[in-house]
């Protein structure tokens, strides 16, 4: 679906990922963005494949999964509104580390990594802001993964 630039910017600005960005930063992001509306079961990208777009979930949910030989497709995280998925393209070669599949009807903003990286190279201030935002996303994801690794719901016995 195509959306005119002001509406696209408005949509982008309302996401948690873009919270607090300046109008100028938003415009730079908006130039690289397009709206994507997809049904449940749509594969946004596959593990091991190259993907240029990084997605900001506007509504709906996206299942991130990894293939494990003998165990099949294992869900590692469900992303929801405001979450960023597919950020490998922004910081590396764009080879995806998980498969992303929508679990319900989703509205997403797909941002071209190539365009974003070009904008960041041309405007280091934007690059700093964007990378800082990306670091926050990755940091939160890392903490959540650590908590998951702790297996805090595992049963423990006590004396009473």
């Amino acid at each position: 679906m195509t959306l005119d630039a002001p509406n696209l910017l408005k949509m982008l600005a309302s996401t948690r990922f873009a919270e607090g960005l300046t109008h100028q930063d938003l415009q730079s992001l908006g130039r690289a963005a397009r709206l994507l509306e997809v049904p449940a079961g749509h594969v946004l990208f596959r593990e091991g494949q190259r993907e240029d777009a990084v997605f900001v979930v506007f509504s709906g949910h996206v299942r991130l999964s990894m293939k494990v030989p003998g165990r099949g497709d294992i869900t590692i995280l469900t992303a929801g509104p405001g979450d960023l998925v597919g950020w490998s393209g922004l910081i590396s070669d764009g080879i995806m580390t998980a498969t992303a599949t929508t679990t319900d009807f989703c509205r997403l903003l797909a941002l071209s990594s190539t365009q974003l990286k070009q904008s960041c190279d041309a405007d280091p201030q934007l690059g700093y802001v964007l990378m800082k935002r990306l670091a926050q996303v990755i940091s939160r994801r890392l903490v959540a993964t650590r908590i998951q690794l702790l297996d805090v719901f595992a049963e423990r016995r006590n004396h009473s």
Binding site: I76, F153, S160
Partner: protein, 284 residues
């Protein structure tokens, strides 16, 4: 909020209760429906959401167990028990009709009155949903007194979610339920991830007017609090329920001392501000 046993009750006196029903919830966890044998005691029984009792198995010992039932249900006491030690192992092996002892109720309670007119978020992990269930019953009985009600409930996997049979009814009563698990196969339609990830993205109408209560593993509760603070929910609006080895239940034995507090008396429910500086101290 803080309270001990009911006034005019001898806190040492154990009353006989009969197991009138058993609900097997998840592996190793069941709920007992208890009824007083003494009708006079039954008539005066009352508790506030968040409180606990001491259940006594003759010849085995006593254990502190959260009350997981509806405070409006005066005919019976519901308590959810995880088989985690000698007493609870014995409790979970008793048949319907068996008689055990009960002291209490004891301890502080969730701030259901303070929550009136506000948005409320409940964050439960594993069996931590048990002491929060009375809050859910209370708020759904008085639904018009509260604004947005949300339950974020986490478990290791979908089969270990507590009380899933009640979710649909609670939803129709106006509770927004977001289950999330650590691991799941493709048949699971809910979310995968930790409760803090869900809280991170939850739409908040007005963080300053939101209250949050949490119960679950301490690590989960700590990061839930950090996430809530990051979302702008005031520290004074955050509450948690702690678990320690409670023995006498009336702040005499010291087994449940936690810094300056006795969990059985000042707790188990605390305002986060009370525990903020001591919650992450090793071995406290």
């Amino acid at each position: 909020m803080a309270a001990t046993c009911e006034p005019n009750q001898n806190p040492w006196l154990s009353h006989s209760v009969r197991i009138a029903g058993i609900t097997r919830e998840i592996p190793g966890v069941l709920t007992l429906d208890l009824e007083f044998e003494d009708s006079a005691r039954a008539a005066t029984w009352a508790f506030r959401p968040g409180q606990f009792t001491m259940l006594y198995v003759p010849g085995v010992g006593e254990s502190a167990i959260s009350i997981s039932g509806d405070a409006a249900d005066t005919g019976r006491i519901r308590q959810t028990i995880r088989d985690a030690g000698n007493v609870t192992h014995s409790l979970t092996g008793l048949p319907i009709g068996a008689t055990i002892g009960l002291r209490g109720p004891f301890g502080s309670s969730w701030p259901v009155d303070e929550c009136r007119g506000r948005d409320v978020i409940l964050v439960a992990g594993g069996i931590g949903l048990a002491p929060l269930r009375p809050v859910i019953y209370h708020m759904l009985h008085h639904r018009q007194q509260y604004q947005e009600l949300t339950l974020i409930v986490g478990a290791r996997d979908p089969a270990l979610l507590l009380y899933p049979g009640e979710f649909e009814h609670w939803r129709t009563q106006g509770l927004n339920i977001i289950p999330t698990v650590d691991h799941a196969d493709e048949s699971w339609r809910g979310g995968v991830g930790v409760v803090t990830t869900v809280l991170e993205r939850l739409w908040l109408r007005s963080p300053a007017e939101t209250m949050l209560m949490t119960c679950g593993p301490e690590v989960m509760m700590w990061y839930t609090m950090q996430t809530a603070l990051g979302r702008g929910i005031p520290a004074g609006s955050l509450f948690l329920s702690m678990e320690r080895n409670m023995n006498c239940a009336i702040a005499l034995c010291g087994h449940c001392q936690f810094g300056p507090y006795f969990l059985c008396r000042e707790g188990p429910v605390f305002r986060f501000e009370q525990l903020r500086s001591i919650l992450r101290i090793d071995d406290l």
